[in-house]
Symmetry: C2
Subunit: 342 residues, 2 copies
Amino acid sequence: MPRIAIIGTGLIGASIGLRLREKSEIKDLEVVGADREFDIAKRAEKIGAIDSAIRDPRRAVSDASLVILATPVLSLRGAMADIAPALEEGAIVTDTGSTKTEVIAWAGRELPDENSFVGGHPMAGKTDAGPSFAESNLFEGARWVIVPSRHASEGAVRTVRNLVETMGATEMFMDAEEHDAYVAAISHLPLMAATAMFTMTRDSEAWPEMSKLAAGGFNDTTRLAGTEANVAFDIAVTNRTQIVHWLERYREALADLQERLSDEEGEDLFRHMAQTSWDYTSYREGATGREEIDQKASPMPRAELGNLFMGEALASKMRELTAASEERLRELDREERLTRRE
Amino acid sequence: MPRIAIIGTGLIGASIGLRLREKSEIKDLEVVGADREFDIAKRAEKIGAIDSAIRDPRRAVSDASLVILATPVLSLRGAMADIAPALEEGAIVTDTGSTKTEVIAWAGRELPDENSFVGGHPMAGKTDAGPSFAESNLFEGARWVIVPSRHASEGAVRTVRNLVETMGATEMFMDAEEHDAYVAAISHLPLMAATAMFTMTRDSEAWPEMSKLAAGGFNDTTRLAGTEANVAFDIAVTNRTQIVHWLERYREALADLQERLSDEEGEDLFRHMAQTSWDYTSYREGATGREEIDQKASPMPRAELGNLFMGEALASKMRELTAASEERLRELDREERLTRRE
């Protein structure tokens, strides 16, 4: 019976299991799972994410032709060392860790040469942890980065591509360093930013009152502060340099915005905000990069349309602002005259 | 026929209108609306948010006993000046603006003394703008801050409280300065942070690739960058000082986190992340402040439970980290010996 072993049956591992058991076209496939906490493997079994929970990871991987490591990043090395002696000849190993440079290096050291390692990173998830939150369509439509190790066989890469396809995700090949630099910006920085924002507001004296006013905006912006400490810590430790780089750039970007805020004229600030809102809407509508925007042949290029729209909005906003500041000047003038009279 | 006039029939104004027409217990109530862009008032009429769209705001407020100003903040002063001569004696004026100090001052200057102004701020909304996105239950369960002006009559305050109740929201009384300080932290800072993060990543050379990897985490964290420029700009300009204060504190919080990231031991960082994740989960589950947590009588206080949990998790994480760094030392040692041999 063809067997796939999932080591680590939390949210990600269990979601993979559910999907495999639901959609895989492999005949008579058996999906087994192990977890450092046996109870979690048992829960994954109970919800139908795996056929059976196995206490010993070595027993779980024996007879498996594909092993999926879905533990937090820092546990991956231990898991590799653990299962290495029990791997079948030719068994393929993949993972779902959030960073790749260290993981690829660990695989080179811990896994036998005859077992191809093909790293993976599904760009999906949620803050809720554990198999109870697993969904078979968690990866539907998501990108799944594939980072083959240098010695991975073609067959191994094909197997992992099939896995990604079964998950309903879109594959994306990258090298490990490239991957880690990109996710530092669009995944790890948001995690750190949310953490910093939440701890800062929560430590404020006014938090009991402020928190009552907090609504969707605050909750969305800080959602990642609820990331399981295990996951957040491992990301921080294995991608430290890249994250620090982006944290520094982010602080600069905030300083830049702060400077724009101090612009009394307001014209530059309004332009900046209109441009941001416009770009963001385009991004969420599917424009994924500057090239795509430029390539779009349309009677009036997007950028010009933007300028046109912005020109009118800007003019009207500036009139409003001028009126307000003229009024303020008149008031200051009046106040000054009153003061002189006193 | 009792009449309520809504000036500004975008997302907020139209949502108020929808709810009023659906739930108000005022017999024969007529809700009229005006908007700087008549087309938007017409659309609000079309979706049933108002009984009729009126081109001239002065005509809209004549005969109205309650006037709701739901324009972007910077337009409020102009709207007040505009309608002032046409207000009925005793008509009550309220607003829905995101900042309150300037708004209260404007009302004092622009509105006749016999018309009570009671400021309001519903803590709900979405990034999508315009009456097409209006929902009659947009404010259900949300907080609605009420900031009466100094000369507002008791009857006027009662009317606005009734309005808030009709909206399904929970009233919260504050003074204007207090309100502006709090929302700077939990509403305006998230907006600025999202703006800075999105513009920074979008300006990166790697954006075309990175954006493909961006998933729920990035999208939630940056969602507010899509805020209509009109709204974002007005908030920035009318609450500048408070926002700058929080931007500075936020940059410090990020610098602090960056320093923790550089901690090679890792123990402090893990503690910090575990504490954050724990606190965030408590917050989202309804713990709104330190007092509430402390007051909760339970066989084992929450904080201790946390320590217990964290103690175990920490010990296990530290073992992992120690193993990893010992292994790293052994590797460095091996590499050094190899280099020497070369």
